[in-house]
Amino acid sequence: MTMKLTAHLTLAVLFLAAPCAFAQDAAPDTTALPLDTVPPGSVSGLTAVDYVDNSDEGDRIEISWQASPDDGAGEGDVVSYQLWRSENAGADWDSLGVAGAGQTRYLDETATPGTEYHYGVAAYDGTSYSERVSAGPVVGRANLFQMTRLAVLVLMLVFFGMVLTFTKLAERGADLFVRRIPGLNAIEEAVGRATEMGRPVLYVPGIGEIDNIMTIASLTILSHVAKITARYETPLIVPTARAVVMSAAEEVVKEAYAEEGKPDSYNPDNIRYLSDAQFAFAGAVNGIMLREKPAANLYLGAFWAESLLLAETGFEAGAIQVAGTAMVSQLPFFVTACDFTLMGEELYAASAYLSREPKLLGGLKGSDWMKVLSIALMALGVILYYVNQESGFVAWFFTQ
């Protein structure tokens, strides 16, 4: 079913994308013999609309039609479609181009913005043309909105509205409930355990770039962890794989130590840039685990294949391990090799839960209710689809 749908989509788009070069090859050949005196059936449903491309200068008009009854069926002798354009409501027609048989779309890329055009299309069978069907007027404009992205805009604005409202509520001190996320307290327990044992805490913020949202969430959690380690005066080792992340981690940890009134306990040598290369990084972190024997390994952030290496070695070294990532392909290993795992969004929820920061709570609550809304939307859609295949409104709204 999926396959069929995909195949259909493929076919459709391929027709759209077929290069005009081929269309040119199929241009009318006036020397053709023998004469076929029966002209092909004309096209129907001709439309010409202003085409909105991604850098819209208003110079494109999209012309589409339903194939001539003799194209691929009937007499089956249509070889091409001839297109004309008129600037004076059909008084004079200028030849515009040719589309090959089987094609039902032509993109006029030579329109002058703001000019009213009419378009005409006729099927051609090698000797004669069908009756010319025309459509218009249509004006090319440099558009200010991409209608195919309406659904994205509407849902985005609704969502942003929710997020900002909840954020405001949280700022005003409204008590926004967030359920306890299992495994979150485990982070604090793990740090406590390391303190008891007099061994360091290892915090790996993943190998994502600073732009990675997981990395940013991880830095929020790092700030919290750093405050606890500052309080307990437990060494906190933060190996990073990205220079920018290292700089950010430095700032975050330093600030946390300062806030706890222990700026002197902050050891810049413990925030380390090891390597941009994934395995070199994993190898180096494993080295830290074996040499410096942290009692708690916290892996929070964006992880790829190194997850297993880290978790396995940590498991070997006998550390308490708490992981959290939204990199779903790595979750199975964290789930099986760590004591606690924050799965997917729980990572983001964790940063909200730990900090109780209005901005994070707002995002969390906004997402929550957006999920409810989208479940409702999908349920409604499924029912509508059951009753009447794809309803017009749904199709229009999502114009995919």
Binding site: M1, A280, I375, Y386
Partner: protein, 227 residues
């Protein structure tokens, strides 16, 4: 003896640099695998090489493939007939600011560059994820067929719909997971576990494939034991 000859000279007509390459690669491969026995100086040596080569490779490529054509050429050596793209002075400044992180007195300027990148990434992530991972997925779920296809497929499609809903509910944090909600969330975990199981299976497959690749190199390219 033919084999020994091949081992050191490659098949007839092989360039010596290729054979040396295989030897270097084979020795490094074995150095890395020695880690399986235990961490040792050979592994550490190979790893140190790896870090150095990786960084140098990246640095040189960035220079030749990005900075030269996009910054240095447009500003200093425009192609014949092109004028100097003065506007590229701005990204040039941002790039220099980024590198100012090395000078503590001026390192605050690197935040300008950081602000630029983070702002750009945030926006394109909003629209990219919003369209590709949210809106399109909602639409795809809405158009799941529950009639007009075989019974088996209807059941599977129903499973898919229930799966999407229950997983979304598992990641719903505003209510305690008790009662009916808890039940649905539990169902969500089951779906997650099946998916993670599938992921695990696929990951095993991927890792094994890489090992097969290395083994093929050792047995075929280096030792000529298989074809």
């Amino acid at each position: 003896m033919n084999w020994l000859h091949q081992l050191f000279n490659g098949p007839p007509g092989t360039d010596p640099s290729v054979v040396w390459g295989y030897w270097v690669a084979a020795v490094l491969t074995i150095c890395i695998y020695s880690f399986l026995y235990k961490d040792n100086p050979l592994y550490k040596f190979a790893e140190a090489l790896f870090v150095g080569i990786g960084a140098a490779y990246w640095m040189c490529l960035l220079y030749h493939e990005t900075l030269v054509p996009k910054l240095i050429q447009p500003l200093f050596f425009p192609a014949e007939g092109d004028s100097v793209m003065w506007i590229r002075i701005f990204p040039g400044i941002l790039a220099i600011f980024m590198l100012l992180r090395f000078y503590p007195k001026l390192s605050w300027l690197s935040r300008w560059s950081l602000g630029f990148i983070v702002g750009m990434y945030s926006a394109v992530n909003i629209t990219g994820f919003g369209q590709g991972d949210f809106v399109t997925q909602i639409h795809a779920t809405m158009t799941t067929a529950l009639r007009g296809v075989g019974t088996g497929e209807i059941i599977l499609n129903l499973i898919a719909i229930v799966g999407v809903f229950s997983v979304l509910i598992y990641f719903f944090f505003s209510k305690e997971h008790k009662g009916a909600l808890g039940g649905v969330a539990k169902l969500g975990i089951w779906f997650l576990m099946v998916a993670f199981g599938a992921s695990f299976g696929y990951t095993v497959m991927g890792r094994v494939s890489l090992l097969i690749g290395r083994m093929t190199f050792l047995l075929r390219d280096w030792l000529h034991l298989i074809d």
